[in-house]
């Protein structure tokens, strides 16, 4: 399924949709052209090419891009001609067609307002293109001289472009070759898969450990067997022994000794192998983990420039100092760190560093310094952003806190500086009186904290009046391994990231109090409301009836909840796996992991869960009633299925019918439409004719043959307006045959109303 299709496209303008469609069709055209040039399955590719050009033409017509219509039309003509000739294209023709794709791509990038000027400026280029393409296409039949264009100079300006574009990657390659670290592109999907397998290998290697321990028991049994034989021999009176018995006993003793010996050898082998295998799997695992690492300097490339520009605009002189730029940082963390770091540096420049005059007055060098430092410390990535500016005044914070009635003046007196600085992370909290371009809006530090928390890290401030401020970020080394607390909820294990847990405790049942039917308990002078985890997650209730209740406290100092789980299972370090993208974001779940025994476990999205709890606490009945009511209104509307391979047409029809209140679904081609129509209950189908996989006529025939669907009204909307096309559609059983011009007047809407009536049932 096309993601953009299932998503909400209603916010996009028609030209945005056109741009998206051009991107998609250009890809099909380019690939098809190259295949056609190579001569494989020319007929099949030409058909595809024709369809793509045709769709482009239609889409361009809808958004009024006349030039694009002309180019697409010329291309389509060329493909039609080629179909008759059955020749592979000349190099010149391929180049020109590729140039045409680029041209349409460029047209799609031009905004509606600038379109007229743009077209006027390129009139000549476009004319040249159209003539050269038609002359080259007519030369197709002439198999002898395919490389000579009809008018050599006419195609020069355009054909000169594609080679220029292909040069760029070669340049990059050359740069790479010079660089000692060769770079290989690997998709994240592949890397994740490798990561999973490496993690699995590590888990599997531990099984050998258990196996070896069992072998040890076998070894002991063998030893006992030997000892038993010896004892037996000692018991027998030696004088009266038959020679045969003695011989047999000796034989047995030797056999047992042999067994012991060879057992010991095998066991040593196994141990050695276990050792080696465990070593390899660990190294493999860490090797794959390292693939996800990039040096810190990669993530902060633009910072020097940014510091210079921002400092200048503020009339300050500042230098950026970076330490530990080779520190490896997980690429996922790096990605999510850029924005908070950028913010902190801007913050330092604006709030921290003083103007040159002020600095001179305080006996500091005129040039201020902002320091960025990255290092690994105690299994954490520590990044500090420091400046040698004016620092934060604890008194000013205290004053603002009291002014904004966040706490009482008495309470602030007892607070340490560190506790006071915590308030800086509150949403909307600012010490600046004026709002500047750079910072001071009071949005920012709270966002920084949220983003750092999201990756399982912490941020803290330390500051000295007049000497500067330091923000210290502590982050996990990688997002792919998480330290988690395993708990059982509703009879199934779940994992909470340790970084997101406030406290964990076991509480005797009698300490739980009740207020207005809601349970809570007291934790260091604070009342914490209790919520059953299984209820918040809509799981089955299987809470044990012991005397103690297992509670996880989550949230921050402004809203804390006690989550009641069945039991604690322990702390672990697990490899984090992303969930199948097909299911989208699962409520309350962030990702999954594999337990040492190989069974999957889900990792809780604590922020999401907090929101679920908030909803649960604040009148769940209201929410439930609301959702049922809205479901009913959806059911009452008539459902229309739109089948078209052009994104632009699909969205246009969707908007058109949606505006009249119909519930509209879309399908991207005939096959998709056939599936949709059989699984959903539709009142009407609107379909195009020319589509890949299954065309509209075939779709219509299938619908008319199906016993449940045969009376479903179907409207065909096509560009083809010849009498024979129309007859073909109606003979196949279409209720109406419209041309795409019908969008511009009310025809389509009238026909729909005629067939199924208004949108309401």
């Amino acid at each position: 399924m096309n993601k953009t299709d299932s998503g909400d496209l209603s916010d996009l303008s028609m030209s945005d949709l056109f741009r998206m469609e051009v991107e998609a069709q250009a890809m099909i055209l380019t690939n098809g052209l190259l295949k056609w040039e190579q001569g494989y399955d020319a007929a099949g590719h030409l058909k595809e090419l024709m369809r793509a050009a045709h769709s482009l033409k239609g889409a361009a017509r809808i958004v009024g891009r006349k030039v694009a219509v002309r180019i697409a039309h010329a291309m389509e003509d060329c493909f039609v001609a080629a179909q008759k000739q059955k020749n592979t294209p000349s190099e010149a023709l391929t180049n020109t067609l590729l140039a045409g794709i680029d041209l349409i791509n460029r047209i799609a990038q031009v905004s509606d307002e600038a379109l007229e000027d743009w077209e006027a400026g390129r009139q000549a280029e476009i004319e040249t293109f159209v003539t050269s393409i038609s002359s080259l296409a007519s030369a197709l039949g002439d198999s002898q001289a395919p490389t000579i264009p009809a008018s050599p100079d006419s195609r020069q300006p355009i054909a000169a472009e594609p080679p220029h574009q292909t040069l760029e990657p070669t340049d990059d390659l050359r740069k790479l070759a010079l660089h000692p670290d060769r770079v290989l592109r690997v998709t994240t999907e592949n890397l994740d898969r490798l990561m999973g397998l490496a993690g699995e290998a590590l888990v599997t290697s531990r099984w050998l450990d258990v196996f070896a321990a069992n072998m040890l028991r076998l070894k002991r049994l063998q030893l006992q067997l030997g000892q038993g034989l010896e004892a037996l021999r000692d018991l027998l009176p030696s004088a009266s022994l038959d020679e045969r018995i003695v011989g047999r006993l000796n034989e047995l003793r030797d056999l047992a000794a042999d067994g012991r010996h060879s057992m010991a050898e095998r066991w040593t082998d196994l141990e050695l192998f276990d050792h080696r295998f465990a070593g390899f799997s660990t190294r493999l695992y860490h090797g794959v983990l390292d693939c996800r690492m990039r040096p810190f300097s990669d993530g902060i490339q633009g910072f020097h420039r940014m510091v210079r520009d921002v400092a200048r605009s503020l009339g300050k002189i500042t230098r950026l100092e970076i330490q530990g730029d080779a520190t490896p940082v997980d690429r996922d963390i790096m990605e999510r760190l850029k924005a908070p770091l950028d913010h902190l540096v801007r913050n330092s420049l604006d709030h921290g560093i003083e103007s040159p005059a002020e600095r001179r007055g305080r006996g500091k060098p005129e040039e201020g310094t902002v320091q960025l430092q990255a290092c690994h410390r105690a299994g954490m990535l520590v990044i500090t952003v420091g400046d040698d500016g004016c620092g934060v005044d604890p008194e000013a914070v205290r004053k603002t806190v009291v002014q904004r009635k966040l706490t009482t003046p008495e309470a602030t007196q007892g607070m340490t500086d560190a506790e006071l600085f915590e308030f800086l992370f509150l949403p909307g909290f600012t010490l600046k009186e004026s709002v500047s371009e750079i910072s001071g809006r009071g949005v920012g530090l709270d966002v920084v904290q949220t983003m750092i928390k999201e990756v399982g890290g912490r941020v803290s401030i330390s500051s000295r009046r007049g000497q500067g401020t330091r923000f210290q970020l502590e982050l996990p080394l990688t997002l792919s391994v998480a330290r988690i607390l395993l708990v059982e909820i509703g009879g199934e294990p779940f994992a909470f990231p340790l970084a997101r847990i406030d406290k964990v405790l076991k509480l005797p049942r009698e300490r739980i109090e009740s207020l207005q039917g809601r349970q809570h308990f007291t934790l260091v002078e604070e009342q914490i409301g209790l919520v059953a985890a299984h209820q918040a997650m809509d799981l089955e209730d299987s809470s044990p009836s012991g005397s103690d209740v297992s509670i996880i406290v989550i949230g921050d100092k402004w809203a804390r909840y006690g989550l009641v789980v069945d039991r604690f299972l322990g702390e672990r370090e697990l490899v984090v796996r992303s969930l199948d993208p097909r299911i989208g974001k699962l409520k309350n779940i962030s990702s999954a992991a594999l337990m040492p025994d190989g069974s999957p476990v889900l990792i809780i999205d604590v922020d999401d869960l907090k929101r679920s709890i908030e909803n649960l606490v604040s009148g769940q009945h209201l929410v439930r009633l609301g959702s049922e009511a809205s479901a009913d209104t959806v059911r009452e509307r008539k459902r229309v299925l739109i089948v078209d391979d052009s994104l632009t047409v699909r969205e246009l029809e969707r908007k058109l019918l949606g505006s009249r209140g119909y519930a509209v679904d879309v399908a991207v081609d005939g096959m998709d439409g056939w599936n949709a129509v059989r699984t959903g209950h539709y009142d009407l189908v609107v379909t195009d004719v020319d589509m890949p996989r299954l065309d509209g006529i075939e779709l219509l025939k299938l619908i008319r043959k199906d016993s449940r669907l045969k009376s479903l009204p179907v409207i065909i909307v096509s560009y083809k307006d010849r009498q024979e096309d129309r007859r073909r559609g109606l003979e196949a059983g279409a209720d109406y045959y419209l041309t795409k011009a019908s969008f511009h007047d009310e025809t389509l809407l009238k026909v729909v109303a005629d067939l199924v009536g208004g949108a309401d049932r």
Partner: protein, 191 residues
């Protein structure tokens, strides 16, 4: 010891018969479809009380040891959970929900921690997912001519749309599922 060695060598090193190459060329070049035509195969499995079948090529493997981890907020939905198959986490779907079979009989015990039945892993053009069946019979070959039309009562029912044809098998019938539609509906059901 040398005797068999020598004779083996002689066997392998012997000269090729004159028409050897020709014989094999004609055999390799012969159209395979002559034998294969019209032969298709399905994997037959049982969910609740119903025997169903899907084309063999959509299956990757069948697993008997597995743990399905329930996903929250999905009770009674198509998505029944997550399973680990050789280090990869796959979505497990409840075919019985999609096909409306829950009412037919007990599909599985409530306990999801211990495995029961079989887990069938599908891989249809890279589209991977797993589902649980109570029993798996195995691969069955058939001739397209053996297929019968779906009874009208079933064809008219909403869930019946997934059964494309009926295959007689061992004195009973098996519902051959329309894999294209099934996967379409499953993928759509996730969103």
């Amino acid at each position: 010891m040398t005797q068999p060695h020598v004779s083996t060598g002689r066997l392998f090193d012997r000269e090729m018969p004159e028409d050897y190459l020709h014989e094999w060329t004609s055999r390799v070049a012969a159209k395979r479809s002559v034998i294969e035509v019209g032969r298709k195969s399905v994997v037959i499995f049982k969910i609740a009380t119903e025997w169903l079948a899907l084309p063999t090529e959509v299956f990757q493997e069948v697993v008997d040891q597995f743990v399905v981890r329930t996903l929250p907020h999905q009770r009674g939905g198509i998505l029944s959970g997550l399973v680990n198959v050789r280090g990869e986490l796959l979505l497990c779907v409840a075919l019985q929900v999609l096909l409306g079979l829950e009412k037919v009989g007990p599909v599985q015990q409530r306990d999801t921690r211990t495995s029961q039945g079989r887990l069938l892993i599908c891989n249809r053009k890279g589209d991977r997912l797993a589902f649980r069946a109570d029993e798996v019979y195995g691969v069955q070959r058939y001739h397209p001519g053996d297929l019968r039309d779906v009874p009208a009562t079933l064809a008219k029912a909403a869930a019946g749309a997934y059964v494309a044809a009926i295959l007689p098998w061992n004195d009973r019938t098996v519902g051959c599922l329309d894999e294209e539609l099934l996967f379409y509906a499953l993928n759509k059901g996730f969103a």
